[in-house]
Amino acid sequence: MDVTEMKNTVREFILAEFLPGESSANLKDDTPLRTSGVLDSMATLKLVSFVEDKFGIEVEAHEAGVENFDRISDIAALIERKKGA
């Protein structure tokens, strides 16, 4: 799966779970998620679990903060780093 597919997979999950009815065009790679309130801490935990299951990686508690989960591009970068590690 290339990085564009990764981003789209994450985007589809966020739209389905946390933004039902929202157009995918409005959820861009750099749309703030945590800092804008789209994702609260429990929603982030749900997203972390999805990312782990979908991409076969493990995210530690200290990695689930704003630095890695505020934007789809950050999430994709974390997945790439984890898969490449």
């Binding site: 009815g21 801490s41 929603a43 679990s49």
Partner: protein, 377 residues
Amino acid sequence: MSTEREELIRAALEFGRRAFPEDRPTGEAEGEFNRAGWKQLAEFGLFGMPVPASHGGLGLGLGDVIAVMETLGYAIADQGLLFSANAHLWTNVIPVLIYGTAEQKQEYLPRMASGEWIGANAGSEPDAGSDIFAMRTRAVKTATSYVLNGTKTFCTNAQVADVFVAYATLDPALGPMGITSFVVPRSTPGVTVGKHIDKMGLRTSPMGEVIFEDCEIPLANRLGREGRGAQVFECAMEWERGCILANCLGVMRRQLEKAIAHCQTRKQFGKSIGKFQSVANRIVDMKLRLETCRPLVRRIGELKDSGKAADLEAAMAKLYVSECYVKSSLDLIQLFGGYGYTTEQGVERDLRDAVGSTLYSGTSEIQRNIIAKCLGL
């Protein structure tokens, strides 16, 4: 409905009526746990119903368990006992079944499924109720163990529990990602059951504080991954919200039948009171509530049995059924008039039991929050 489920319902009805005859006192006034009743439920197989046969259970689907619970709620007056059974099933059996390691399942599930061990949830704290993840109970990891310190409250079954599924934070700064869950046998040094909490209803279901003081738990007793206790908790709550009111459907059915029988036989002004439109309308509302509540709860069984999430549906069922349960309990008292207000008829007990349903497993306000969030609000 399948023939097997119909047979199960018949068996549950026969069992409930035989084992819990209506005239048998259940220690409600004294707030006594019905241990003999617990053993009877265990012998009937209730606690093993959602557990696979490989772990000592019957391996039934959730739809079947919900049908049994509804029937037991109809047949048994002691809703406190069924409340304790619900707490044991959804906050102990299910988390261990879903998140337990092979060793944990082997160690705990057979005893939980047989009813030999009673489980209690140690989650809520004095300052962490609806805001559960603000919990202060700390877990400190050592080379071989976790050491728990903190006080839990509103723990159903606390006084009679043999095991606790407990939650503590490794680091409050991590929020929900700091929470970790543990299986803690009551015999663990450092576990104390604190004061009994007296309640207006569900009085036969014990409730109390659980205190962890330098309570050292082997690493092997961590339930689920480190920092994923919030996920375990949310999972348990989803099951509990969706299923804990199944027996209340049975109560609502019993209330409806009682209301109809009473209003057909009680005469005032020369005719049965059911002939007065304002009286009949209450019974119509009770019937409507029962029939609109039932599909919401049964839907949880369908979703879970097909491996789907039921966050939204469980919150809707919890909110709607609990509020209907309170309204129908109030209606029944009104239909019985002054007699309904006395303790002789037993209908006031239903109301006292019902009020708690809008509070436990998340208040009605919290259920609305969950539903709104699921709608993208």
